[in-house]
Symmetry: C2
Subunit: 134 residues, 2 copies
């Protein structure tokens, strides 16, 4: 339970590597992939997701590549993880979509809410600056 998938692991490795570079230096995907030991095509998908929500900025064409979308201290681990793994939901109940039809008698519900809150809280306090050792 609670495990990060490979995608999430790769995502962290990749963006932490990028965060450790100079902010004005455009990084090639191929370089990042080689450096963090992740299949390039797979990492491409991950960085596309990052790009869509602005965690990274991409430049196409010759001389293109990726740079961090914001300063490393402004990007949290929570954002990175949720970008590729989806929201942190320990149980379907927590989605609030009324799926927990037995809510009235469901004493478990508040426990999951607590778990969710705690985990998000931890991940939110860690930034790429911390992770990149800056």
């Amino acid at each position: 339970m609670m495990d990060l998938t490979r995608k999430g692991e790769y995502a962290i490795r990749g963006i932490v590597y990028l965060a450790a570079r100079q902010s004005d230096q455009v990084c090639l995907l191929s370089d990042i992939a080689a450096a963090v030991d992740v299949p390039q095509t797979f990492l491409a998908k991950i960085f596309q997701q990052f790009s869509k929500i602005g965690l990274v900025r991409s430049y196409r064409g010759t001389g293109g590549g990726f740079v961090l979308g914001r300063p490393p201290e402004k990007i949290t681990l929570l954002e990175v993880v949720e970008a590729v793994e989806g929201p942190i939901i320990p149980n379907r109940c927590v989605t609030g979509e009324g799926e927990c039809s037995r809510t009235s008698s469901c004493n478990v519900h508040p426990v999951w809410v607590k778990v969710q809150t705690q985990v998000k809280d931890i991940l939110e306090k860690v930034t790429l600056k911390d992770l990149a050792g800056l």
Copy 2:
């Protein structure tokens, strides 16, 4: 991320139902399954796992069924969840099997340890007594 599977959900429902019964009353699997709306054959597998580690006690043959293995206040939600979902491991690193070959530079590692500790802590403090509303 962090989601409980159906198996885990069913497991909780089933054992909470059992906890809410009289402790001397042997419950039929078929009754439990019907009450908590879970396929009986699937629930059977789950209760077998419970039985192996003593969370429930089973009686075979006529008049058989299940009873809780210990008083409800002595069984934690953590035990129930880990019984069917496996240990709570937010990242492979935490297993301590030396899989995190990049440990030296891995600032992410301690974060996962913290997550693991926090979550286990929350789930450990909730007992079946609480969940069954006793």
